[in-house]
């Protein structure tokens, strides 16, 4: 094989994926970018000519900036909750030789087996004012009035955590499986208690999994649409819901595009900062 043929091989291997991404991700993004600078239309999605007005409107209206903040907050809390809830599960799945490991693994994946619309409706049945949780609590005499579990950020976070937990657990599990148990034993033999061994040894070594899981869940939370729109209703809107409103309900394609880009860019920025902060020097070459 000639040298040039050999060096072409890696490109051939990534070509199918690259073409797919190019056609269905990069081109649409360019299109959205152009659209975000178009003039708003009157009776049509957009009008001829270009403007920066869409962005000016976005940045001058605190309503939208608060919404960006809320969306990021919901994403961050969902991510943190998935991490805290998912770590012990991932640990157990990775380390124990329990008998029902296969079953437990299936249970972890089970949220992904139900369609997202059905699952979100399921949560409305549980969380609503007349829902199962409030009913039960009232019947037990623990509360007088229903707790506000729906049409707020809390409800959205609860439902999102349920959906995205597998995306946290799976990378965590593979990271933990990669940590040799004798490394922990070594830390213990050197005088570290369980807590110290966890903090100084296990946690840093699980960091690649924590990083991957957090980024996945965070990005998925930002872009989630069905769950926030069903659980948040008209009262709490995330950016993704507002983007869809603008594009489909009020037919403001340029403004919707500007919002969509703002959402993507702030999300990317947060991920970048997070990756930077959790950078692992020992992993670099």
């Amino acid at each position: 094989m000639t040298i040039s043929a050999r060096s072409a091989k890696p490109f051939l291997l990534i070509a199918p994926a690259a073409v797919l991404l190019g056609v269905f991700l990069v081109l649409p993004y360019i299109n959205i970018g152009i659209m975000s600078f178009r003039n708003p239309g009157n009776g049509s999605p957009y009008a001829p000519g270009f403007t920066t007005g869409n962005y000016l409107r976005l940045f001058s209206d605190s309503f939208y900036l608060v919404q960006v903040g809320n969306t990021l907050m919901i994403g961050a809390i969902t991510t943190l909750a998935c991490l805290v809830l998912g770590f012990p599960v991932a640990w157990q799945l990775a380390r124990s030789q329990m008998r029902f490991r296969g079953l437990a693994y299936g249970l972890v994946l089970s949220p992904l087996l139900v369609g997202i619309v059905i699952r979100s409706y399921g949560w409305t049945i549980l969380l609503g004012n007349n829902g199962m949780i409030n009913r039960t609590l009232i019947n037990m005499g623990l509360i007088d009035r229903p707790l506000a579990l729906m049409y707020n950020s809390l409800g959205i976070v609860i439902a999102l955590v349920h959906v995205f937990l597998p995306f946290m657990i799976l990378p965590l599990m593979s990271a933990i499986q990669g940590i040799d148990p004798s490394i922990e034993a070594a830390a213990r033999s050197l005088g570290a208690g369980r807590v110290t061994a966890f903090r100084r040894i296990v946690l840093p070594l699980a960091m690649p999994g924590i990083q991957a899981g957090c980024i996945l869940v965070f990005v998925l939370s930002l872009s989630a649409y069905v769950t926030p729109s069903l659980i948040g209703g008209l009262r709490v809107k995330t950016m993704a819901v507002s983007v869809v409103d603008a594009l489909i309900d009020t037919f403001q394609w340029p403004f919707g595009s500007a919002m969509a880009l703002l959402l993507s860019l702030t999300g990317a920025l947060v991920v970048l900062i997070f990756a930077r902060l959790t950078r692992m020097k020992w992993k670099a070459n």
Binding site: S182, A185, S189, L190, G191, G193, L205
Partner: protein, 352 residues
């Protein structure tokens, strides 16, 4: 320094008895090996000494103090693991500092002690490397340094050389042994490699099926094995049946074997009937055919440089393995004469 005393130590996993009431005393500064095939309980014993496994019964005393209920991190042991178990996210210096930090040693003392131990294991220039940037042998020495820098009461090594290539393994044997003598630390070494156990240890504890089959100096184990199992595990051996004929001089008994009649040591005076004898391959000497001794035919020879191994077939069909220096060479089909000194036979008890 520390004297270790193990009494009736037992580990019951419910489905199996991994360690079955073993007792052994390890003197201050002594290097002992736990030797045995996999599943004999040697690693479980080590883990119980380290505190990673709970003992079902029995006592482990460090200088008379029972540590069975002391957690691993409070036992003050240094442990070297088979796969080194270095912290991959820490540099060599940070790996060494970890145990000292746990002991709240001051920053400046950590620096001096780390530097001193790194020099001891000949890795002075490597303090800022990460483990993955080191070769297997270097990682091994870092693991050793990390265990020693805390100046533990006892050093425990779990098959530390198993992952190294043959040449490096032999170098490390000498290295570890020398270091251990210099530091003077009580050491327990687990291995399934009899050559490793014999060259390194003051005393070898041979384990089978969770019990101690024999313990003693390497030469005791090799030359005076108590059972056929021990004899076969510790090196090559010919097992011969013999018939006690009569008492001979100097507490010896005259025994009739396929190789002739010999005056054999170690047989109780009351013994009669048949005895099982061990004969090491290198205890046999070969001479040209027709000389005084038992005649045999060479059926195979294996040349390994410093030594030659022969498989011989006696005229009655029995096989004898012989190891000699390659001074005289025979090849398959040659007739040879077998010469043995009666003192080289050793009687074996029945296997436990």
């Amino acid at each position: 320094m520390t004297e270790v005393s193990i009494e009736g130590l037992t580990k019951d996993y419910g489905s199996s008895l991994a360690v079955n009431g073993i007792s052994v005393k390890i003197a201050d500064g002594e290097f002992i090996s736990l030797l045995g095939p996999s599943g004999c309980g040697k690693t479980t014993t080590l883990k119980m000494i380290a505190g990673f496994e709970e003992a079902t019964a029995g006592a482990i005393r460090f200088d008379g103090q029972d540590v069975v209920n002391v957690p691993a991190e409070k036992r003050d042991i240094g442990m070297v693991f088979q796969n080194y178990a270095l912290f991959p996210h820490m540099t060599v210096a940070q790996n060494l500092a970890f145990g000292l930090e746990m002991r709240r040693v001051s920053r400046s003392d950590i620096a001096t002690r780390t530097a001193r131990v790194l020099e001891m294991v000949q890795l002075s220039g490597y303090a800022d490397r990460y483990p993955r940037q080191l070769s297997g042998g270097q990682q091994q020495r870092v693991a050793l340094a990390r265990a020693l820098v805390i100046e533990p009461r006892i050093l425990l090594l779990d098959e530390p050389l198993a992952n190294l290539d043959a040449k490096l393994r032999e170098e490390m044997r000498v290295f570890i042994r020398d270091l251990q003598k210099r530091v003077g630390i009580t050491t327990v070494y687990v291995t399934h490699d009899q050559a490793e156990a014999m060259t390194m240890s003051d005393r070898v504890v041979v384990m089978f099926g969770g019990r101690i089959a024999q313990h003693g100096a390497p030469a005791d184990i090799y030359e005076r094995p108590v059972t056929r199992e021990v004899a076969q595990f510790v090196g090559q051996v010919n097992i011969l049946e013999g018939r006690v004929v009569s008492a001979a001089a100097d507490d010896r008994m005259a025994v009739e074997t396929v190789l002739g009649q010999f005056a054999v040591r170690g047989i109780p005076a009351a013994a009669s009937g048949t005895v099982t004898l061990a004969l090491r391959p290198e205890a046999v000497e070969l001479a040209g055919p027709g000389t005084d001794g038992t005649q045999a035919t060479v059926s195979a020879s294996y040349y390994s440089g410093s030594l030659v191994d022969y498989r011989l077939t006696l005229d009655n069909g029995q096989t004898i393995n012989v190891q000699t220096f390659p001074r005289n060479r025979w090849s398959a089909g040659d007739r040879v004469t077998i010469k043995v000194d009666g003192d080289r036979f050793w009687p074996l008890g029945a296997s436990a």
